[in-house]
């Protein structure tokens, strides 16, 4: 299907020339003035690949049309090339300033018009296409994620000691930590606003491996576990990865990579005393470090009955053992936000 180009000019001859010029490659539609042009744009919406707009027109001039397109948002998706008089550099500057993509001078050199139209149409096709793909991706991910979250939290809730509020809180704490690191630390650890969002979404699955651990073990307090049971329980990190592995073909590779790293490494400790791989220091991915701290705080204040202040102190005293100094420091600074998150997402009780 040919793309559609709107030609706006009050002189019939000019419209005819442009139509003749563009009709081999585009569907053309003409308006003989600004008002008609706006009517056509309203009707066609996103169908127009480009508008060729004359500046000087009696009923409503090109600038007024541009202004209206700016106002109603049409200009974002539909590019405009202005047609100006040759001697008016001022007009050209004004066109561009008001949001036109380009201009052509009257009298036309047909090859120049064709070339400029083609360039702008292609640029916008590319840009609009990209935006659509990104929108679809984001939507797919968030839809899939919502379903995953809904199903898994129900399952985790019934089968393990985790609650949906806990999962939600860990996600929010993680965001607080990483956002602060991203905004204030010299070493951003490869974080961007996008990766932080993806990590937070991925954090939901941190304990998915518990689904493969016998319920009898999960129901016990960690202090009641025998050494053997303790080892079985620790396997939830590795087993979670087994559940995530098959998802590797999913298009969003970052998402899966974060899921995997969080799942596997959220019980590693800074001093190398964690499990399953006994990673040390920054060998532990930052996403897992953040989730580990978030998880620990939540465990202290919710399961172990510590007060917020006690939990903050405890995590601070654990410096150099469990968590990275940078994260512990960050945690001290955003601890108030942790408390707010906890207050807003309290346990509902089962």
């Amino acid at each position: 299907m040919k793309e559609k180009v709107l030609i706006v000019d009050d002189a019939e001859l000019n419209r005819a020339v442009l139509e003749e010029l563009l009709s081999p490659e585009y569907d053309t539609v003409c308006a003989c003035g600004g008002r008609e042009a706006i009517e056509i744009m309203d009707r066609e919406r996103d169908n127009l690949a480009l508008v060729l707009l004359d500046v000087m027109m009696p009923d409503m001039n090109g600038y007024e049309v541009l202004e209206s397109m700016n106002f109603n948002g049409t200009l974002k998706r539909t590019p405009v090339i202005m047609v100006t008089a040759a001697d008016s550099a001022e007009d050209e500057e004004k066109c561009l300033r008001m949001g036109a993509m380009d201009f052509v001078r009257k009298p036309y050199v047909t090859d120049v018009v064709k070339r400029r139209v083609k360039n702008v149409v292609e640029l916008y096709r590319y840009q609009n296409g990209l935006e659509e793909v990104l929108e679809q991706k984001a939507e797919t991910l968030s839809n899939v994620n919502e379903i995953i979250v809904a199903v898994l939290t129900s399952v985790l809730e019934t089968k393990t000691a985790e609650s949906r509020e806990h999962i939600q809180r860990v996600r929010l704490y993680t965001r607080e930590l990483l956002k602060f690191v991203y905004e204030h630390s010299d070493d951003k650890n490869g974080l961007t606003p996008q990766t932080i969002e993806t990590i937070c979404i991925a954090s939901v699955l941190h304990d998915i491996g518990e689904l493969l651990i016998p319920e009898a073990i999960l129901r016990k307090n960690s202090s009641e576990l025998t050494d053997e049971e303790q080892l079985v329980w620790q396997q939830h990190t590795v087993k979670g990865c087994q559940l995530i592995e098959p998802l590797r073909n999913i298009e969003n590779k970052d998402y899966i990579r974060y899921c995997y790293n969080i799942c596997r490494y959220h019980h590693e400790k800074w001093d190398g005393s964690g499990f399953p791989d006994r990673l040390v220091g920054d060998d532990i991915p930052i996403c897992a470090q953040a989730v580990a701290l978030a998880h620990d705080y939540d465990r202290l204040v919710v399961s172990k009955g510590y007060s917020h202040e006690q939990a903050v102190e405890r995590i601070h005293d654990g410096l150099f053992h469990s968590f990275s100094p940078v994260l512990v420091e960050t945690f001290q600074l955003v601890a108030d936000n942790f408390r707010t998150i906890l207050a807003r997402n309290p346990e509902q009780g089962k």
């Binding site: 009050d10 002189a11 003749e20 000087m56 009257k106 009298p107 050199v109 090859d111």
Partner: protein, 112 residues
């Protein structure tokens, strides 16, 4: 020769043709179409009514179309008049436009 006749009437045939990507049939079609262009009528009407805004628009339009078709003398006259009107000077030469318009129209009318 026809091309010379057109040139003498103020139509730069070679240049006008270049503007149409060298498509001769197209160029001739638009030259013929120029005969139906109503800007000149509008110019006369507005002038007699003293509607200077209308005069300006008509001359401006005529400047554009004549330029596109390689009628540079006519386009120049229109341009001069546009400038005068913009500067609110009343001593514009509308007759230069009429005579150059008549010349191109006659040459196009004689065209095959």
């Amino acid at each position: 020769m026809e091309m010379e006749t057109l040139n003498r009437a103020g139509i730069n045939y070679k240049d006008g043709l270049r503007r149409m990507s060298g498509n001769e049939a197209l160029y001739r079609k638009f030259l013929k179409k120029f005969l139906q262009d109503e800007s000149i009528v509008r110019l006369k009407d507005c002038l007699s009514e003293g509607d200077m805004e209308g005069v300006y628009e008509a001359v401006h339009t005529l400047k554009g179309t004549s330029g596109t078709l390689g009628m540079y003398d006519l386009a120049d006259s229109c341009d001069a008049m546009c400038k005068k009107i913009r500067n609110q000077e009343a001593d514009f030469d509308v007759n230069a436009i009429y005579s150059r318009y008549d010349a191109v129209v006659k040459a196009i009318g004689d065209m095959e």
